[in-house]
Symmetry: C2
Subunit: 340 residues, 2 copies
């Protein structure tokens, strides 16, 4: 899923005094707290926002898509680290969404606002939202919403799904009559794998605890990076062969041809770090970050592929913050699925 | 596979002056160099050695097993870190196995000794064996040997395979007519998964780079342990919930009941280490070691299970140095297979 076109930079938040904000909703996950809200202000387009209407839809394909109402306005996305819940609450205050804010003033007799929220944090942080903002978090099931959202995007929005091969992004043409069943792999702190058979018809069939939280958590321990984005940036500059044990390292530079393993295949992630001759300080942070990223991406790709095989699903869609806007991660996932 | 009964403590090596050593063979892997040799010395039994004859075999089951010659003597196992290849060569010198050693003196006209060797190191370290010992490493394919060895043990030796559940070791009764096909999971530095259909009939169908080398390598980086055994010992004293993000951590202590995830399930391995409030020094090494062990064991169990399903294999046998003599690892693998 590409959220790039929807992304708002932190300094491009709409001006709360001139913009009407509607439909605030939250997904409070284990690592990140994602906030989405809809603004209706034709005079105040902000770079990086997107109109909510089917984009780039050719007349031909339009005919085969389901009919959805087109709202005039913009969707705005913003994220906070979940642990910094107060930053999010402050933001909502600034946007005057809370009771006593602009919206409330327009409807002075209305009840305290309920906003839709998903994710474990909608339970865990219900109290501070109530106490500081007077907001009730109206909890929706996270899997229901995830699947409904994915189905909507895949059915309605053209050029929504794509694959990465050799650094090239290629959009995937989806025949709307042949979308289901598919495997939806949502890579958050952990990874959920969901067999989707139609609207409202799905089952969480698998997952792995080795996900975005592992990349960030282990990466922070290894490199002492300060943020997820810094760690990811670092990984692009690294070389995993300084840390991983490759088939060639074991076989003196040779392939293990009989079983089809090339000398550059990773035999053991972080296997070179066993060496007695080097300490942690002797490894470059960027190499460890790279190795970690490949280890986790490969593993998710492999387990996804095995589950797709198991349930006879010919297509896998990956989503979630771990891969969003990160071509290398997506490329590694694609390579892993193709390898296995 | 249980090598416990064969294991020799370092200080119980047979006395080279009174013991005849035969059939030295090596498996030089990415992390460990495993050496096995056969001694024939009825007067010199050493505690911890084992006679090579079917053990504990009841008369009843004997009848159904294949006929193998019984040699009078003992198998001795010894391991070295592969990077310390000179220690291994020194040991072979001390045991007088090399040309000019005791065996050579008995057959003064014989050619330089060839010894059987498997693993990538048999290619990588061929030169030092030749130069320092005059020994030719006669390379055998590692998968061929692995499968032949596993089949032999499973067919011939009673009480060879077992499972762990709740810290209890339970031997698995194997009907010899119903042994094949099975999945053999060999956990070395990396992990190989082999579909075994009979003697000499097998195929490497999958694997993962997240194996024993990852445990040791990452564990060394995180804890600065000096050895694999020290790291493993450490992991037994740790608690993974200090480092892993559990379902309950995300859901404010609650289960995510709808999809069957209990509050104590690991949502994200090392996910708690994302926290801004703690640095590496604030986490206990034993907790990180524990989390790492669970992450890797769970993952191997899951991928093994998915491959067993894929190929319709009803039994999985795990082997390799990562689990050898480590009940907790074996228990975690068993739990993982049962969970998925």
């Amino acid at each position: 899923m590409d959220q790039r076109e929807f992304e708002i930079q932190p300094n491009s938040d709409p001006n709360p005094s001139t913009t009407h904000v509607y439909h605030l909703a939250l997904d409070i996950g284990g690592s990140l707290n994602k906030l989405v809200y809809f603004t209706k202000d034709d005079d105040h387009f902000v770079d990086g926002e997107a109109e909510i209407s089917p984009r780039n839809t050719s007349e031909k394909s339009k005919g085969s898509r389901r009919n959805h109402p087109v709202l005039k306005g913009k969707l705005n996305f913003k994220k906070f680290e979940t642990s910094k819940i107060d930053d999010c609450i402050d933001f909502i205050k600034t946007m005057k969404l809370h009771p006593g804010g602009s919206r409330q003033q327009e409807n002075p007799g209305s009840q305290p606002i309920s906003i839709k929220a998903t994710g474990g944090g909608s339970y865990k942080y219900a109290d501070p939202f109530k106490e500081r903002l007077g907001i009730n978090l109206d909890k929706e099931d996270e899997m229901d919403c995830l699947v409904a959202g994915a189905n909507f995007l895949l059915e309605v929005v053209d050029r929504e799904a794509y694959t990465y091969m050799g650094d090239q992004r290629q959009f995937v043409q989806i025949d709307q009559n042949d979308l289901y069943p598919y495997l939806l792999v949502n890579i958050g702190s952990g990874v959920s794998m969901i067999k989707v058979e139609g609207n409202g018809k799905f089952e969480r069939v698998s997952g792995t605890s080795i996900g975005g939280g592992t990349f960030w958590g282990l990466g922070k321990l290894l490199t002492q990076c300060k943020s997820f984005d810094e760690l990811l940036e670092l990984s692009y500059q690294g070389n995993n062969k300084e840390v991983d044990m490759l088939v060639g390292d074991i076989y003196g530079g040779m392939d293990y041809a009989k079983i089809g393993l090339s000398s550059t295949a990773i035999a053991s992630s972080f296997g070179k770090a066993m060496s007695d001759k080097k300490e942690r300080e002797d490894y470059r942070p960027e190499d460890m970050a790279r190795s970690l990223l490949r280890m986790i991406s490969n593993n998710i790709g492999q387990i996804s592929y095995l589950n797709a095989l198991r349930f006879g699903l010919k297509r896998i869609f990956f989503g979630g913050f771990f891969i969003q806007r990160h071509p290398f991660t997506m490329d590694t996932l694609s390579v892993a699925v193709n390898f296995w």
